[in-house]
């Protein structure tokens, strides 16, 4: 596919990653995620319009305008995984839709809310604003790699203890951010924590409890060091 002859009239392909979904491990029961996924599929089937179907057929018949997928080896939570992805797949979508690491959340998808915060080489970043294919050789850490039930990271335990959430949607991003903040040069005051954490929006407004959780862990780590 040369760069000049892409037809802007060709509709963007609707990506449904059913093959990937079918690779998900069976849970043996409905989880919230599998239930919602099935509900979503039924909703699409019920509302698909003839024009959408026609466009899909046309897209299948025409030579693909897509660039080939590329093979990438990603190191996530210490485990190397090789997969074929389109260049436009963000790290966030790759984690959630391809690798089933759904602890990382999609909020705004534009770097404005922080729900998608992960660590790359130990530094916190917005996984929605970077392409997965750019991260061959990088060490990626998600909330799943920070701690697990029964073996919580001190920051996770502090969020539980201080009730640092209501709905919980922003929480994994908050915790990923907070864990990285421990290693960044910030002052000791609550106002410093608020500034450090300003890239993580909590729509429930659990901020005072989040600050308390972060301060507790910072205090403990300073005492022990």
């Amino acid at each position: 596919m040369s760069e000049q002859n892409r037809d802007p009239a060709v509709p963007e392909k609707i990506v449904t990653d059913e093959t990937e979904q079918s690779k998900e491990k069976p849970f043996g029961h409905f989880t919230r995620r599998t239930f919602i996924a099935q509900l979503g599929a039924a909703g699409i089937a019920a509302t698909a319009t003839p024009s959408l179907a026609a466009a899909a057929t046309q897209e299948a018949a025409a030579p693909s305008a897509r660039e080939e997928t590329i093979a990438v080896t990603l190191s996530i939570n210490g485990k190397k995984q090789t997969l074929n992805i389109e260049p436009r797949v963000t790290l966030l979508d790759c984690l959630r839709e391809r690798l089933n690491l759904t602890g990382t959340k999609k909020g705004c998808d534009h770097g404005q809310c922080g729900a998608c915060t992960v660590h790359i080489n130990g530094r916190r970043v917005n996984s929605c604003l970077t392409f997965a294919a750019m991260h061959e050789g990088d060490e990626i850490t998600t909330i799943e790699g920070i701690g697990q039930p029964g073996n919580l990271h001190p920051m996770q335990a502090a969020f539980v203890e201080h009730d640092g959430y209501q709905c919980g949607y922003c929480t994994s991003g908050q915790i990923m951010s907070a864990v990285a903040v421990l290693k960044e040069p910030w002052g000791p005051e609550d106002k410093d924590v608020r500034e450090a954490m300003s890239g993580n929006i909590c729509r429930c407004g659990a901020y005072p409890n989040i600050v308390a959780a972060v301060q507790q862990v910072r205090g403990n780590s300073q005492k022990s060091s």
Binding site: E12, G114, N126, L129, M134, S177, A180
Partner: protein, 333 residues
Amino acid sequence: MIDFALSRASSPAEASEQAAKSKTVQQGAQVRYVAGGTTLIDLMKLDVETPVRVVDINRLELARTERQPDGSLHIGAMVRNADLAHDPNVVRDYPVLSQALLSGATGQLRNMATTGGNLLQRTRCSYFRDLAYAECNKRTPGSGCAAIGGHNRTHAILGTSEHCIATHPSDMAVAMMALEARIHILNGQSEREVPIGEFYLLPGNTPNLENVLKPGDLITYVTLPPPVAGARSHYLKLRDRASYEFALSSAAVVIQTEGGRIRKARIALGGVGTRPWRSPEAEHALEGKAADETTFRAAADAALRNAKPQRDNAFKVELAKRCLIRALTTVTT
């Protein structure tokens, strides 16, 4: 997001060679470099940027700051905003730059965004960012400007034209304006240096053209001249909330005083201009005068004399004046 091809550049020259295939590097570029991605990927999701090839420059060896024998500081284009803000040379010699960087975006975004990328940050004009509005001369030359006569509270009051009033959003570039940075550009085998004061274009009749870059150009590093002896510098940013918001008005000031008089002044404003706004008028009003409120007020009046407010942003004229006065007061007391 439309599809595109992604390639990784192994050297600056190779990156330049790939980018040289683009017909333009301004709005609508066919080839884009991706560094931090915080502007580009955001705009690609909005279909405002639609490159067919994206060149990943993250592995280029351009992520160092280096003090030069003449006392100047080289800042690699790939130095992340967070690293630059805490660089010991920057903290000590150019506090205005460190403060500007830390006032911008968030911890996550500063870990991603780069020096070169921040210089090329695009406007936050909501009409530019939203394809539902057909009228945007920056996106589609000749289509008109929805912001003029639209909701324009955050738009520019300096350097505007009848075709575009989009504000330049960067804090870093405002500090670099006051520091008289020089931008080093590679193109194939040739290199050139552009003073930051000559890097950005006014919108005029061609708001789609934002800077002097040509196809194949790659910003490799930025040079800050040696710090002005005895000078103090400061960045003040005013905005709608205390953190994580673009400036409604900001001021970068570098002031050298001697016996209560201002010997040298370098002034730049943010949040009010169509480009990072250097104000020679304010500098002229300050130099040789007593460092007092009367002088600061005169400088602020001079800086905003040609301000052209829109329906919703007349408040910015007074806000920018107070911002500059307060920054000057802070740095001289």
